[in-house]
Symmetry: C2
Subunit: 377 residues, 2 copies
């Protein structure tokens, strides 16, 4: 218990059966808790909302439909974070990125040596931030914090205790801090999921954030429609040729930042080609060819994660990593600035700046050493 | 001839009958040439497009409808700029602001002492730019350059030689460089128009540019619709509450720049209240109450003066004047930057920067002295 990572040898199949704590009972958290319970793992589910916890308990667990089916019965569904993470080998945080900071604070007193925390996903800089908060909170437990590139499920929960899993993604990248623990984390995750794969490091998982490309900018460039609640297809109507062209140039900044860190980051266009098995000559065409977008509508108001998550937890840390490594990200900066001016300084209050990630003042070499080894100068 | 301004004494009614040259045969230029001809003034009309000139000549003049009616017969309609401005007392430039520079170049060799050039309107910094270009071109003629705040006509020409004048605006502000010649210019203009009034100086006329507030930003924040040619009401649909709120904060920057120059600039909200005789608690309400906007649709593509005129000839010089006088215009700057990043550097190639206005390196005091007296240190 709590030291699974020490027992598991990299390279060989991990024969332990880890205990799981799921922090966050939204779409993804319920899917994961239900799925793990149906696979007979010991799993506990935490959510901050008492009504949700009560509803799931009243339901006797989580009804899972779709590619996984059955009534998954977690060992505990609770609003008690201490009980949730106690004795867990792996703590899966399945929550919006803007909640990570408070989750880190809430977990901090109860974490114990050997536990693994995985942010599903980390957005950009999730692990940096989580580790920084634990340090600031005085947490001395030797835990390994990791993040996935994206949530492993495509799923939706229309009511508490019911979730539909449309698909389980294959090959979702994972990276730990330090990177030399990534393989072990992947192995442990794959005792249940089978399909995670190691990413190079947490800079890679941070930069593989396509949302930072396709979310905030189209919201701004369709702001009247969103603010007025006008019906429109988010991608098909909202990403016009000129906007797609701009997004592609913005995307180049992200890719160039990756290059400066020695990383081969997937372009948004390429991501669509891989994810949706299509070919396109540019991003506009790629998006227009993505059939899954044919009924994705724009948000009906500006209180959307496309802004409140993807600007402060996506665009800000990407631009910040750019500054750290000396790569200009003026398109990222311009959109961040405009979003701040329109939505107010509050938007960036908890943004993942270099300072809030605990990596300000580092040289690129120092940062790379830190992500690879966990050692800081 | 050509020295009307010297003969006309400020304060008394000007009894001269000036000769007019109209440069630009668009909606406004045709309205003005037709109107002046119908008032029996000597008037010549220039346009750069031979087909337009031929059509007007074939028509025997300009058919004016609306609040002024009749066939106005200019003394000359030509593509020859030299012939047009020869012997004119007043040269009325009625053209998009982005054409002012080339018009100044074209006029430069033919201008003579005592002539008055009036930009209808100057957008922002029109006179500064015109004077700078004349100087760069080596023009030594002693001319007075002035600008109006807005075109005096509300009008539309649906075909060459035909124009409908819906209204002639009252109290349109005019300022000359130097400001101590403004009264004389107004007097001369009012021999024909009667309703111009002196503005404090060309910084005032420059800053009274409402278009810089209500044009580029809504285009950007409705960019997908404009780029896709989607039908929408430009003001009613395109300026949502959040956008109007942002425009109002952007507008404060313009007003604060004016204050720093000792000017009381009209806010956009107040402008609507005055212009359309309404009362509103904020800019959103003012725009929504403007009945004249009920059928104003958004442009169907991005090749619109709302971008190509109002960013480089409106927002850029306003932000530049802000920098000169030490007033932060970060909202102006943010929109300019985003427009440049989306539409390319070409957009700002001829932008009215302090340098292109010939006022870079000046202190606010030096600039004020220059606009008041025409003297530079």
């Amino acid at each position: 218990m709590g030291n699974c990572i020490e027992k598991c040898k990299s390279g060989s199949h991990c024969d332990l059966k880890p205990k799981w704590a799921i922090v966050g009972g939204g779409n993804g958290g319920q899917a994961m808790a239900g799925h793990l319970a149906l696979m007979d793992f010991n799993v506990k589910l935490y959510d901050i909302i008492p009504e949700k916890v009560q509803a799931i308990n009243k339901n006797g667990g989580i009804n899972v439909e779709g590619v996984v089916q059955g009534l998954g019965k977690p060992d505990l569904v609770t609003t008690d974070i201490a009980e949730t993470i106690k004795d867990a080998d792996v703590i899966m945080v399945v929550a919006p990125a803007f909640a990570h900071k408070n989750i880190a604070k809430a977990c901090s007193p109860y974490l114990t040596d050997g536990q693994i925390v995985v942010l599903n996903p980390g957005s950009t800089g999730g692990v940096f931030e989580f580790v920084k908060v634990l340090k600031d909170e005085g947490c001395t437990a030797k835990v390994t914090v990791a993040e996935t590139q994206t949530l492993i499920y495509t799923c939706r929960s229309d009511s508490f205790g019911h979730v539909n899993i449309f698909a389980i993604k294959k090959g979702v990248g994972v990276a730990a801090l330090p990177a030399n623990k990534t393989d072990k984390v992947v192995e442990i995750l794959n005792t249940a999921f089978g399909e995670f794969k190691p990413a190079k490091n947490i800079i890679a998982t941070s930069l593989e954030n396509i949302n930072s490309v396709v979310h905030p900018t189209p919201i701004l460039l369709n702001l009247a429609r969103v603010d007025n609640g006008t019906d429109f297809l988010y991608y098909f109507d909202g990403v016009s040729p000129i906007i797609a062209n701009f997004l592609e140039k913005l995307d180049e900044e992200r890719i160039n930042i990756g290059k400066a860190f020695g990383l081969d980051i997937t372009s948004a266009k390429r991501w669509y080609e891989i994810e949706y098995q299509l070919e396109a000559s540019n991003l506009y065409e790629a998006i227009q060819k993505t059939e899954a977008y044919s009924d994705i509508k724009g948000p009906k108001n500006v209180n959307t994660r496309y802004i409140y998550e993807d600007v402060p937890m996506g665009m800000v840390p990407i631009a910040a990593l750019g500054r750290l490594v000396g790569v200009k990200a003026e398109k990222y900066e311009a959109i961040i600035k405009l979003a701040e001016l329109i939505f107010g300084e509050e938007l960036l209050k908890n943004a993942r700046t270099l300072e809030n990630l605990g990596i300000d003042g580092m040289t690129p070499e120092e940062l790379l050493k830190y992500v690879e080894t966990g050692e800081r100068n």
